[in-house]
């Protein structure tokens, strides 16, 4: 069950499918908040051609599982799915998806926002941007 809720994968994912899977786990879910991060074509004024994500296999999944468990403990929510793509990602493509299901919406919003902040803070995933000026590993995150 958990393995399906936490994924680091090269393939794309479907928001629809993940939302439906989450809803299927409990009829008590009345509100779902999704965060979808996609590859933008501009970053700090620089045109970007493509993005590559590197990750620490094992440790990245472990951190995402910890984030999910902490969110389930700290917020009044029912289920959480976290998926992060790695490898080469073209402009406009999906990068990350967080799906949070709750009985009431306030906690779903808070938990989803917390999960993506925490993901950026503690998950060993790195981003390489290919721009007209060359390749750069992104150091700061917004």
């Amino acid at each position: 069950m958990d393995q399906d809720r936490i994924r680091v994968q090269t393939e794309d994912f479907s928001i629809e499918e993940e939302t439906k899977k989450l809803l299927a786990c409990s009829k008590r879910i009345g509100g779902v908040v999704n965060f979808l991060g996609t590859a933008r074509d501009f970053s700090k004024g620089q045109e970007i051609h493509k993005i590559d994500f590197d990750h620490y296999p094992g440790m990245a999944e472990k951190r995402l599982a910890e984030i999910r468990e902490q969110a389930l403990k700290d917020y009044d929510i029912i289920e959480v799915t976290i998926i992060h793509r790695v490898g080469e990602i073209s402009i406009g493509e999906n990068i990350v998806l967080i799906v949070v299901g709750a009985e009431h919406r306030k906690d779903a919003f808070r938990a989803c926002s917390w999960c993506i902040d925490e993901l950026k803070r503690i998950t060993p995933i790195w981003k390489k941007e290919t721009t007209p000026d060359g390749i750069v590993w992104v150091e700061e995150h917004p």
């Binding site: 950026k120 995933i125 590993w137 150091e139």
Partner: protein, 82 residues
């Protein structure tokens, strides 16, 4: 023997993805870093610049932590997921 992994920008700068090396009993992360700097000169600048976390068996630890035979150490540049 411990395994040492380098990710993202470090992989390119150090020129290696993973190395194995012998450590003496009671070696701290700080001592390991000094030992590695001698073998991999680019690490000197990188570590001085700061912002690099070090994990032992996939947990980030302080640099005075003692490592043991069989540990998996990793040098982690600032994260940029999401």
């Amino acid at each position: 023997m411990v395994k040492v992994k380098f990710f993202a920008v470090l992989k390119g700068l150090v020129g290696k993805e993973e190395i194995s090396l012998e450590i003496k009993e009671g070696t701290s992360l700080n001592q390991l870093i000094e030992q590695l700097k001698a073998d991999l000169p680019p690490l000197v600048d990188i570590m001085q610049k700061g912002g690099i976390l070090i994990s032992v068996n996939q947990e980030v630890l302080e640099k005075d932590a003692i490592i043991q035979d069989g540990d998996e150490i990793a040098f982690l540049p600032p994260f940029a997921g999401g």
